[in-house]
């Protein structure tokens, strides 16, 4: 018996006859961490969560949660998971407390236990003051927190967070991030999907980058960044000196410096970090070229994303955003 909480092996999910949402993806998640699934819209993140949450049967391959096969033993899987989603599936006409208690009852808890657990969870998620108000009076951030509370009332071993902060204002996002971090400290494992790179960077202990239903790269945030390459030195120099600057800096790295016409910046791979920066400054001074500005720049997950998928990440303008703003009102 493996102790991984999630084991996905060569899972395939095809919609209709053409759209291959999951294309033989495999991954393993160790318990007690936040695991981030990062990818653009349509990459297959949500489909993978639906397969693991027993909402969709995989067409091929096997997926196990806490050792149980999602297709053959779905009831066992469901008893061990919690689902919190981007649409905040809470009931507008019930109060926050009624919502959480109801989900608790449906996890099979006795009425008294459900009530007590709901109280605890609402406390933890800091919704006690508004717990007896109908959910339709809640802000978008409060709804997400309630959704999270409802998914926790069954004390799941594995929590699915499907784009938990999409469409939230920055303050609500920060608050939700804090809550999620606290939760994991109590031993729950979380599988988080996000299209926000900073969210994956801030929350996830390990990150899988997926695109077109395939795993492209996997590791800690630092590992992923290291895989893309070391730091970059970026500078802007007077236009007249640009060609000469590129010429004198050529000896500093194997890959020659490049010029980004859009941002009007010369960038230079700097495998040796700040040492390359100092060297570059010395060479420029010798050549009598004075840069307007110069900086050492560590790769971000943006760079990782760009390098791995060949596309820039779309942070902040996913299709969910506008509708969520409406819903939060």
């Amino acid at each position: 018996m493996d102790k991984a909480i999630v084991q996905v092996e060569k899972v395939v999910k095809v919609f209709g006859h053409k759209v291959c949402a999951l294309d033989g993806i495999s991954l393993t998640i160790e318990p007690g961490i936040i695991y981030g699934l990062l990818g653009p819209n349509g990459a297959g993140k949500t489909t993978l969560i639906r397969v693991l949450a027993t909402l969709l049967p995989p067409d091929a391959g096997t997926a196990r949660v806490a050792g149980f096969d999602v297709r053959r033993e779905p009831a066992e899987v469901r008893a061990r998971i919690g689902l919190a989603g981007q649409f905040a599936a809470v009931d507008d006409f019930l109060t926050g407390r009624e919502n959480v208690e109801m989900i608790g009852r449906l996890y099979g808890l006795a009425r008294g236990v459900a009530r007590q657990r709901a109280g605890e969870v609402l406390e933890r998620i800091r919704l006690v003051e508004v717990a007896d108000r109908p959910v339709k009076t809640y802000s978008g951030g409060m709804r997400r927190r309630l959704d999270l509370a409802a998914s926790l009332v069954g004390r799941p071993q594995l929590l699915f967070l499907d784009e938990p902060t999409t469409g939230l204002d920055p303050a609500s996002r920060m608050e939700l991030w804090g809550l999620i971090k606290d939760l994991i400290a109590t031993g729950t494992t979380a599988l988080l999907t996000t299209q926000y790179l900073d969210e994956a960077d801030r929350l996830a202990d390990r990150i899988a980058v997926i695109d077109h239903g395939r795993l492209i790269s996997e590791g800690t945030g630092e590992e992923l960044k290291a895989r893309v390459g070391g730091s970059l030195v970026e500078m802007s120099v007077p236009e007249a000196d640009r060609a000469r600057a590129i010429e004198v800096l050529r000896c500093l790295s194997a890959v020659p410096p490049s010029y980004d016409a859009q941002r009007r910046k010369v960038s230079l791979p700097s495998p040796n970090g700040s040492k390359t920066l100092m060297e570059a400054l010395r060479l420029l001074a010798n050549a009598n070229i004075q840069p307007h500005d110069i900086s050492l720049h560590k790769p971000t997950l943006d760079d990782v994303f760009l390098a791995l998928t060949g596309r820039a990440a779309i942070a902040g303008d996913g299709p969910g955003t506008s509708s969520d703003v409406k819903e939060g009102g």
Partner: protein, 277 residues
């Protein structure tokens, strides 16, 4: 990691019953907290009854059998009970599409609850609502002159037959809701199914006045059968077309209800299991 199974077959039935009660309660709270829904869904049948009675009553009166005791409202009320048992099924479809579009069904399907509980709870809460509406119709009907020609047992029996049929019918509507899945088109889809059944029936006028080809349909379709059963129970055997008996029509109404359930309950559950919002 040790594997402990949480679901034993022995407590499966009690779990199912509990889950159904939880979902039913949740749906009923929603009705009570949404006063507009409650008000309009009760005013509408009442307005319909008043309209049909005062607009059609005078003209149709002449075509009625003596069992109506010379009053259209006596003829109309049993028919409207059958018709509103039919109409309230529309709520089942609307409620399901709403839950589907808000991701509520996804959450329910990810929980270790009984698979049948969401649909059973939905249809049961709608049954309770239609019981309320049918009783209201009887009351308002009484105020404007409706008088049962049999006895209380007949009226209660009629209520029971109407509700059993309404419950079976709400599984058809659950199926429609899960097939259409879209809150904006659901109203049109529901009326498309309901209107032919509601109007090409014996609800408003005796079917003998309709063209032959239409009579083929109207005389045998379930709403007419249920309407006849209700009329027989409330007005006596004289309200039925020649050759029909009250017990025969009641049996036929139950048979229709059972047949509808047998086809559509499994179909709806199958669709629910595969539904993805």
């Amino acid at each position: 990691m040790t594997i402990t199974r949480t679901v034993s077959r022995r407590n499966l039935l009690s779990r199912t019953v509990r889950d159904i009660i939880v979902i039913t309660g949740r749906n009923l709270i929603r009705v009570l907290r949404l006063p507009q829904l409650l008000v309009f869904s009760t005013i509408q049948p009442v307005i319909f009854m008043l309209l049909f009675n005062y607009v059609f009553g005078g003209a149709i009166l002449l075509a009625l059998p003596p069992a109506a005791a010379g009053s259209y409202i006596n003829w109309l009320v049993p028919g409207l009970l059958a018709q509103f048992a039919l109409f309230s099924g529309g709520q089942t479809a609307a409620g399901l599409t709403e839950d589907l579009s808000h991701g509520v069904l996804d959450r329910f399907r990810s929980l270790p609850m009984a698979r049948s509980a969401v649909l059973a709870g939905r249809t049961l809460s709608d049954l309770i609502r239609s019981a309320f509406i049918l009783i209201l119709l009887l009351g308002v009907g009484f105020l404007i002159g409706f008088r049962p020609q049999t006895n209380l047992t007949g009226v209660l029996g009629a209520l029971a037959v109407g509700l059993v049929f309404g419950y079976a019918w709400s599984w058809v509507m659950a199926t429609v809701g899960l097939l259409v899945r879209n809150g904006e088109s659901i109203q049109a889809a529901v009326y498309l199914v309901i209107f032919p059944l509601a109007f090409a029936s014996g609800v408003f006028v005796p079917t003998e006045t309709m063209p032959d080809w239409l009579q083929m349909f109207t005389e045998h379709q379930p709403v007419t059968v249920v309407t006849n059963a209700l009329r027989g129970l409330i007005l006596g055997a004289g309200a039925l077309p020649v050759g029909q008996t009250v017990s025969g029509q009641v049996a036929l109404a139950f048979l229709w209800s059972a047949a509808i359930m047998a086809v559509f309950a499994p179909f709806a559950v199958h669709l629910y299991r595969r539904s993805v919002s």
